[in-house]
Symmetry: C2
């Protein structure tokens, strides 16, 4: 069954989804569809008007999913090459993430990030993976501002400490937590940023012994916290 996304409490599809339903899929009155609101509800519905700009449906049943008992927030510096961060958003949404926040660090090469395309990728990945929750994406903030928004109880910064043996995120994090992980840009965090993060209660962790690209590190942190809670 085709899955659509309508975040508002209305019984018609968005303009994009209406066009897709009517022009591409050629759905007809009476056809069954599913519509998620991105907040945990999936409606089973039937098409009631064939309109490629505003396709109406009638809800016949609603299935509600409860949120996971843990939450994963990945805070990442956007990569210079946009493809790489788009890829990260797609994959993180597929495997499961609650929130993705962006920041510009001292060593960030990229200083502009538009969320619109990333939001579309997130919606497509939510539909693709048959989920009912749309993760939250946050506009990029300067690093210092981002730290102020990180109030999760388990906070980590992916960085190799110089004066103590590295500890893997898998060993530091505990199950059923509210997690926040900071992933630096290609040029890594500056010393000052690391000091700021540690002062704000972030624990230094590694994600393994290999040097990972920014987007690989971000996805690995997300995978690892999901697995910890399997």
């Amino acid at each position: 069954m085709h899955l659509f996304y309508q975040p508002a409490a209305v019984e018609y599809l968005t303009e994009d989804d209406s066009r897709h339903a009517i022009k591409t899929l050629r759905l007809q009155i009476g056809d069954d569809i599913a519509v998620t609101d991105g907040h945990g509800n999936r409606h089973l519905a039937v098409i009631s008007t064939v309109d490629s700009r505003r396709c109406s449906f009638r809800i016949t049943d609603t299935q509600t999913t409860v949120p996971r008992p843990f939450s994963v927030r990945i805070c990442v510096a956007p990569t210079k090459n946009l493809d790489r961060i788009e890829w990260f958003v797609e994959k993180a949404v597929e495997i499961g993430v609650e929130r993705i926040s962006f920041f510009f660090g001292q060593h960030s090469e990229r200083r502009v990030l538009k969320l619109e395309r990333l939001e579309k990728i997130a919606v497509a990945a939510m539909k693709q993976s048959l989920q009912s929750f749309l993760p939250r994406l946050d506009e990029a903030l300067p690093f210092g501002e981002l730290l102020k928004t990180s109030i999760e109880e388990q906070r980590f910064i992916a960085h190799l400490p110089t004066d103590e043996p590295p500890i893997n995120l898998a060993k530091r994090a505990t199950v059923n937590g509210q997690y926040s992980v900071l992933i630096g840009p290609e040029g890594d965090f500056s010393d000052k940023e690391i000091q700021q993060a540690v002062a704000a209660g972030f624990q230094m962790v590694t994600l393994g012994s290999n040097r990972l690209r920014t987007e690989t590190a971000a996805l690995t942190a997300c995978q690892l916290l999901n697995f910890l809670n399997v």
Copy 2:
């Protein structure tokens, strides 16, 4: 320091790497480089002739890495869209994998796969992540032929069993194993293929509750087995 790849026991760079070293990086006689053989050895060396087709070096020291105490082999049906499988190869090599094998299943849309480009991606990812082992990539085989090559002690097929509760790969696999995991094409395995795999000793496992794309499932299996052995 710049890392190069020379699988042969010779003291000069490959033609590609020679051009990169001399034309792009403009290295000079006496400059320090590192050269990995992809079999666990990393040589520290100095440039001894500036030749953009055959740049010689002199080894000053060799560091040998031991293989991991476990091995991960991912057997995956190539995706219709080549970008997706290229992405998987890059990411799997970065995070750590011993072998990637390809197969064509009954529901595979893609029926041709050239390894040359994937091998270049694997070499670049090995260098990028500062590893000394180059994972093995196998030419695509028909599914039945692939099964005959899978003699690892812990064999899994990512598929939801219909008549018993799904068990996550994290619960089935045990540490320090030799693992092989089968990941189906976009159209999934056929019933016959699943029967063949089960008859060949593969255990059915899930990779979580979300429906994952082929390349996401392949990377997730790889991540999960790596984490199990952290």
